[in-house]
Amino acid sequence: LAKTTQPISMDSYEGQEVNITCSHNNIATNDYITWYQQFPSQGPRFIIQGYKTKVTNEVASLFIPADRKSSTLSLPRVSLSDTAVYYCLVVRNNAGNMLTFGGGTRLMVKP
């Protein structure tokens, strides 16, 4: 599976838009990009998944350029409760059932 690279940490302030970019240069045709969020002392929680272009849900947007070698998770107007670790994963269809997590990005939202 394609290895993912994302910033180790980011700081933001309440009300700002946060964009976390993940690179996955070796992504394959049947790979999807998935993001999970993890709060302290909790298990990861699914945020969003996409294949190409843009996906939006009530929590976030995911932007994937045409070459799919990177993706950007966008969190609009963050609040203190968005402080968490965000993981970018590449998930391959029909190729096993494990999710492979990297180190994630630690987002700290300040007042």
């Binding site: 990861p44 993981y87 998930v91 391959r92 059932n97 494990m98 999710l99 997590f101």
Partner: protein, 116 residues
């Protein structure tokens, strides 16, 4: 239940002791996963069940680790002769579909194991 339930939440074991960690997945979920998460790291895959069948155990770090899901619902992760390097949070996740692609995985809160 409303979500994936794991017990105990915290476990302190003396080195050499055997431990058993329990996972109650969401009712009806076919797939069940175990992950190990060291402090400050992302979760690492241990093993995967589809119903009662253990289809992938490639992530189990040693033969001291054993997992079972005999009736296709509750699962137990057993660690024999615990070592200090086994100290971590053990996460259980379940999903409705057979393929992780087709649906999200729901994680429990984890069991924090400390080996002293």
């Amino acid at each position: 239940g409303a979500g994936v339930s794991q017990s105990p939440r915290y476990k302190v074991a003396k080195r050499g002791q055997d431990v058993a960690l329990r996972c109650d997945p969401i009712s009806g979920h076919v797939s069940l996963f175990w992950y190990q998460q060291a402090l400050g790291q992302g979760p690492e895959f241990l093993t995967y069940f589809q119903n009662e069948a253990q289809l992938d155990k490639s992530g189990l770090p040693s033969d001291r680790f054993f997992a079972e899901r005999p009736e296709g619902s509750v699962s137990t992760l057993k660690i024999q002769r615990t070592q200090q390097e086994d100290s971590a949070v053990y996460l259980c996740a379940s999903s409705f579909a057979r393929e992780v692609m087709n649906t999200e995985a729901f994680f429990g809160q984890g069991t924090r194991l400390t080996v002293v």
